[in-house]
């Protein structure tokens, strides 16, 4: 992907993560897999990209992390992320902005 594509991806990654977490709680590796799988590989990213975004979202109060023991079979708890109320509001706002942006782009390009 060229530089423009990279920058565009960077710009939407927070919305995508919030969107995924608005459906269910997820752990780090799961987020990577979901982004990759649901986008047919377009949003295939590495840990170095994922985690700083998660930290930003967490610092802004849009998501929170917690430890959960999945089952008795699995002795080690996992670190999960879930969206907060503030995050849901931010997601709605971001989606609206994105729609506005896409509409404006379409007007110019078409």
């Amino acid at each position: 992907m060229n530089e423009v594509g990279k920058q565009l991806k960077k710009g939407v990654i927070e919305i995508l993560m919030l969107s995924l977490l608005s459906r269910e709680k997820m752990y780090g590796y799961q987020l990577l897999q979901e982004l990759d799988g649901r986008s047919n590989g377009v949003f295939r990213m590495k840990e170095g990209t994922l985690y700083p975004v998660l930290y930003r979202l967490e610092d802004n109060g849009y998501i929170e992390s917690f430890w959960e023991q999945e089952s008795e079979k699995r002795s080690v708890p996992r670190k999960y992320y879930r969206i907060t109320d503030s995050g849901m509001n931010a997601l709605i706002s971001m989606k609206q902005e994105l729609e506005t942006l896409f509409y404006a782009i379409k007007l110019i390009i078409d």
């Binding site: 752990y27 780090g28 590495k46 840990e47 170095g48 990209t49 985690y51 998660l54 996992r78 670190k79």
Partner: protein, 253 residues
């Protein structure tokens, strides 16, 4: 586990960020790698992640939106890399006593001198109960130019005791000394003992004062002679001090 730890440590060594960020990265990388290692060969997992430098580059690319942000971090006090980039190294312990850090270290490599303040202070200008550094100030000071109740240094000024190349204090011991009790190569004081001594009571190879005694003129019982001299000059001085001083003179002889 060692393989994972050393890989993560190597990634972190290439990342320029504040300690909080680096801790978060370390925790998450360890979680992810340990998780993956349950079902896969760890070398394969690490191979897929990439070299530590590449992983570090990805993190920094995501952490810093612009070059100026990276420069800000490089030049900040929070960065671990400050020791390599900035002129100042600083460490302050979280433990405090009456609000004062237990340990404060602040050293400037060059440029303006920096002050460290703590119970134990170490640095260019440390101020504390125990101060160690270039110009230490404290109860016990050790350093280049030491100031304190007890001072040890190249040059030392001690309210009670000073020990140094040049020493000044109630009790001064060293090369060139000034004090109530001065002992050294060149000693000046109320009671001075040394190669060259000058004072109310002066004892030495060369002695100048109201009560002066040249070592070559002292008989076999040095202690007794010196005691008598000091007692006549300073009759109110406690016996134990006179005893101690005369023992030093006997040692010098």
């Amino acid at each position: 586990m060692d393989r994972i730890n050393s890989y993560v440590d190597e990634v972190l060594s290439h990342i320029i960020a504040d300690n909080n960020m680096k801790k978060r990265i370390k925790d998450d990388l360890l979680i992810q790698l340990n998780e993956a290692a349950r079902t896969e060969d760890i070398d394969a997992v690490i191979g897929r992640m990439g070299s530590p430098k590449d992983v570090a580059r990805e993190f920094m690319d995501s952490i810093y939106d612009s070059k100026s942000e990276l420069l800000d971090e490089l030049l900040s006090d929070r960065s671990d890399n400050a020791i390599f980039v900035k002129r100042v190294y600083e460490y302050k312990s979280k433990t405090t006593i009456f609000g004062i850090p237990l340990v404060h270290i602040k050293i400037s490599r060059y440029g303006s001198p920096t002050v460290a303040k703590g119970i134990i202070a170490i640095g260019t200008i440390p101020v504390g109960i125990l101060s160690i550094g270039a110009i230490p100030i404290g109860l016990i000071s050790i350093g280049g130019l030491a100031l304190g109740l007890v001072a040890f240094g190249g040059a030392a000024i001690g309210l009670f005791l000073a020990l140094g190349g040049i020493a000044a204090g109630t009790l001064a011991i060293g090369g060139i000394t000034f004090g109530f009790g001065a002992f050294g190569g060149i000693a000046t004081g109320k009671i001075a003992m040394g190669s060259i001594a000058q004072g109310t009571v002066a004892i030495g190879d060369e002695a100048y004062g109201e009560y002066a005694l040249q070592l070559k003129n002292i008989g076999p019982d040095v202690k007794a002679e010196v005691s008598a001299l000091i007692r006549s000059a300073l009759p109110k001085l406690p016996d134990w001090i006179i005893d101690w001083l005369s023992s030093i003179a006997a040692f010098m002889k």
